[in-house]
């Protein structure tokens, strides 16, 4: 692939806030027309990375391009072509829905502004509420308005910072359908999220922790890379078993999923012995299952915590 095939390429990005090293040597690429999921715990540097990509923050070192424009020297060009949705709703709550869209369209010098705004309102099904103040919208509607506003200037790249935080499942599903439609039109999308179901809807993923990119690829690739064996154990008194298993050899993590425990580890033999000894012999049902993306992320989080604490 040549650089022209990438919507975003960054190489060795670093950002410090005082003594805090927020982003460490971040290198990643986002291909044209793909939905790229950006995962990691809170405070891991996702927002900082996104802000560096759209010209809101200056990296301390490293380089990168966004849609072919340099993210340090050609910020104005980048800003003109990228759609960015902030983590917190950041449109003007004291302006009406139409006034917000109108303002954004003017600022980006969108041609046929009135028609474009009308069309957007129509698509959002907000035409009848166009005069309502943006602040009075519910969370799901605010997020749809924000997405529509960030699409007004027809960007080729969308950067979405936890767009669905605090939004109900139905609204999230509709939102993701919209994202896939956009991707099908050739728009590249970087979306950060905490939700596993959303991660699974992405074409490719990256996992970042403590400012460091730990893993990237498709979800299948990521699951494969970690080489985890996972056992599902069901039965009674799982809380006690959970505690016992955590200290056993071969067990890297025990996670409670409703009425079952997921026990995972990279050393398959050692794990099998442990499960037989503590679970099967004690009357629990235990079977090997496919390792899920969630197991992988929990594993990534645990190992990175271990490395830093």
């Amino acid at each position: 692939m040549t650089t022209a095939d990438y919507a975003v390429t960054v190489e060795g990005l670093n950002k410090h806030f005082g003594a805090h090293h927020a982003v460490k040597n971040l290198s990643m690429q986002i291909r044209q027309g793909e939905i790229f999921g950006f995962l990691g715990p809170n405070g891991s540097g996702k927002t900082t990375s996104i802000r560096m990509m759209c010209g809101l923050l200056t990296p301390d070192s490293g380089s990168g391009t966004c849609l072919g424009y340099d993210i340090i020297r050609q910020r104005a060009e980048v800003k003109r072509r990228v759609g960015y949705m902030t983590q917190r709703f950041s449109y003007w709550e004291d302006l009406s829905i139409r006034e917000n869209l109108d303002f954004v369209a003017r600022l980006y010098q969108v041609p046929n502004r009135k028609a474009v705004v009308d069309e957007t309102l129509e698509e959002l099904q907000l035409t009848s509420r166009a005069k309502q103040l943006a602040g009075s919208l519910s969370g799901g509607w605010k997020q749809r308005l924000a997405l529509a506003a960030s699409l007004l200037h027809k960007p080729k790249l969308l950067l979405l910072d936890e767009p669905t935080a605090g939004v109900d499942p139905t609204a999230r599903r509709i939102f993701w359908e919209e994202l896939h439609q956009l991707a099908a039109k050739g728009i590249s999308i970087l979306v950060s999220t905490h939700y596993m179901d959303e991660a699974e809807r992405c074409h490719r993923l990256a996992y970042i922790s403590y400012g460091e990119l730990l893993c990237q690829g498709t979800s299948a690739e990521m699951i494969q890379q970690r080489q985890l064996t996972t056992w599902q154990i069901t039965g009674r008194h799982l809380v006690q078993l959970n505690r016992t298993l955590e200290a056993c050899p071969g067990v890297e993590q025990v996670v409670a999923f409703g009425t079952a425990l997921h026990v995972s580890g990279t050393q398959a033999e050692l794990l099998r012995d442990t499960v037989e000894q503590h679970a099967t012999r004690e009357g629990y049902d235990a079977k090997i299952i496919d390792t899920s993306l969630e197991d992988v992320f929990i594993n990534l989080m645990k190992t990175s915590e271990g490395a830093f604490n």
């Binding site: 809101l56 960015y84 917190r88």
Partner: protein, 378 residues
């Protein structure tokens, strides 16, 4: 306790203390503001101003004029600056505010004095600000009674020793002959009101965006610093001009302040003051991290503007260093200009010395604002 629980109450108290401690600027203001204000205003404000600028028109030099002038000097109220040669120069000095007093001795003063013809000494006062000159005027009257007694005693044979004084003081209060303080206060208030509202409104504008999180969105859009800053102040220029009109209408209709000068000039100068203050506001706004800090900085600017500009206390009563601070502030110059136009009928030539400092101030602050406004979130 249902309505008041001590530990619940204490938790609030602690939280407030912690939050105050986090806000460094507020903490600094709490400590430094009283000290700065006490030293600044405590030393600077003097309601009995001395060293008022006085010019002399001398038609002749004599023993008597010299001792009269030195007696004036000794009162401490008069700083004799220039000896002028004509009445037209005297008029110009008063109109431009270069002199508060012009004292003219007539031709043949000494001869008339010696012949006991009671010569007339003309004292012209800039009475636009009656409080500034009131004490100096009463000192002048005392000097007049005693100054020449000793000189005249040498030539006592020609003077009627019973006459209380042998010459007449003609005091001519210019521009505001009745000494109506409102004529001075109302135009001054115009600048004060414009300063307060303009700075306060704009100082919150960017800070508000920052607090609400909309600034991040704005910064991510392709808009430049100069566009944001100048774009944000336009509506307030109109607000300022409306305020200006309201104040002028009240000044004219309710307080009957004389309108001697050109109204277009009044508006042009007001526009300039509005711009200067909006620049201050927007710069504060770019600096402040939250709306409270913006308000504190507004007051930090506003108080010296009121107290050191000559609005509330006589400018020439302040020590030199305070006058220097006062001379930086646009309100000081605006007060002089607006009083000059309304009360003295000044035109551009007379007011220009007080116009360019406002321009320079506005330009400097605007550059600072653009410099401090960051187009990124760094």
């Amino acid at each position: 306790m249902r309505y008041f629980n001590l530990s619940r109450w204490w938790s609030i108290v602690l939280k407030e203390f912690l939050q105050i401690r986090r806000d460094r600027l507020t903490l600094g203001m709490i400590g430094a503001l009283p000290i700065i204000q006490l030293t600044l205003f405590g030393f600077a404000i003097n309601t009995d101003p001395k060293h008022l600028k006085t010019d002399i028109v001398l038609a002749e030099q004599s023993e008597f004029t010299r001792s009269f002038i030195s007696a004036l000097r000794n009162t401490g109220y008069f700083d004799i600056e220039d000896a002028l040669s004509s009445q037209s120069e005297a008029d110009a000095a008063l109109a431009s505010g270069r002199a508060q007093f012009v004292i003219s001795f007539p031709n043949g003063f000494s001869a008339q004095l010696l012949k006991d013809q009671k010569p007339k000494v003309l004292v012209e006062v800039d009475a636009t600000d009656p409080t500034t000159t009131a004490n100096a005027l009463s000192a002048l009257n005392k000097v007049a009674q005693s100054a020449l007694k000793r000189d005249l005693n040498h030539v006592v044979h020609v003077v009627d020793s019973n006459s209380p004084y042998s010459y007449e003081l003609m005091i001519h209060k210019r521009y505001n002959p009745e000494g109506i303080t409102q004529y001075n206060i109302i135009p001054g208030l115009m600048g004060v009101i414009l300063s307060m509202t303009m700075v306060m409104m704009t100082s919150l504008s960017i800070t508000r965006e920052r607090e609400r999180g909309t600034l991040e969105n704005l910064l991510a859009m392709p808009v430049e610093a100069l566009e944001v800053i100048s774009g944000k102040i336009i509506p307030y220029i109109i607000v300022g001009l409306i305020q200006c009109t309201t104040i002028l209408l009240f000044a004219k209709l309710l307080f009957r302040v004389p309108f001697e000068g050109n109204m277009l000039t009044v508006y042009a100068v007001s526009l300039l003051l509005i711009l200067a203050n909006l620049m201050v506001g927007i710069t504060i706004s770019a600096l402040a991290r939250n709306q409270l800090q913006a308000m504190q900085m507004t007051f930090f600017y506003f108080l010296p503007s009121i107290l050191l500009s000559g609005f509330m206390f006589p400018f020439f009563g302040m020590p030199k260093w305070a006058q220097i601070i006062g001379n930086v502030l646009p309100l000081t110059h605006f007060n002089r200009v607006i009083r000059g136009i309304l009360l003295k009928g000044n035109g551009w030539v007379e007011i220009f010395p007080n116009v360019w400092p406002i321009m320079l101030f506005a330009l400097t602050v605007m550059l600072l604002g653009v410099f401090f406004y960051k187009n990124t979130m760094d």
